[in-house]
Amino acid sequence: MTASASATKKFILGAKPPKKLSLEAKQQLETSRPNTKAIERAARIVKLKVVDGSTYGF
């Protein structure tokens, strides 16, 4: 997903999460809890102004 000088062959831009999941993966998704600490951290940190790019010619 992220830029790197040596991206792996597996990485395909625009790939979507797998539809077929193992039992373990399904259980992981069901039993895990929302990461409230990280959600709260992001809410605390993210304060930047969001601007329309056309204002700057972007």
């Binding site: 831009l13 193992s22 990461n35």
Partner: protein, 160 residues
Amino acid sequence: MVPPMGFEIIKPSQAFLHPQVFLKKVACANHHEQNYCTQLIKRAAIHQVRLHILANSTDLEIIGFIAISASELKNSPCVTIDYLLTTPSYRGVKFKGLGDMKASEYLVDYAINLVTQVNADIPFRYIALQPAHEKLLTLYRSIGFVPLDKTGWLFFKINQ
């Protein structure tokens, strides 16, 4: 040493979503990254993905960007982080103006916050991503992403 900077998040206009225009403003480390950016801009131009650009608010230099789209994971709506790029000269740099975070860390937190806010109106249960490189696992795990079994994907749960 990077001097103190102010930052803004820029939502690019449709006119900016042309590979040649975009690549004049965004520095890439190599042709792989340029190819990814070219593909991404084409997808952004047809609304398959949205870009959120982190820029220096003084001279409008692009520090990095994150690209996100809507998807599905285990029959639940999710947001996919399609791509994240930090301009080569700012990789590994922590910025005071970003709470002593790297641009990549900030952009992922920006996406988490955005999805959490949208989730109040449109349900999104997960954020998912596929790291391009194993060494990026450390970054994403430190932010709160969890490897999804042996799929090569990571997820971040928003909603129970």
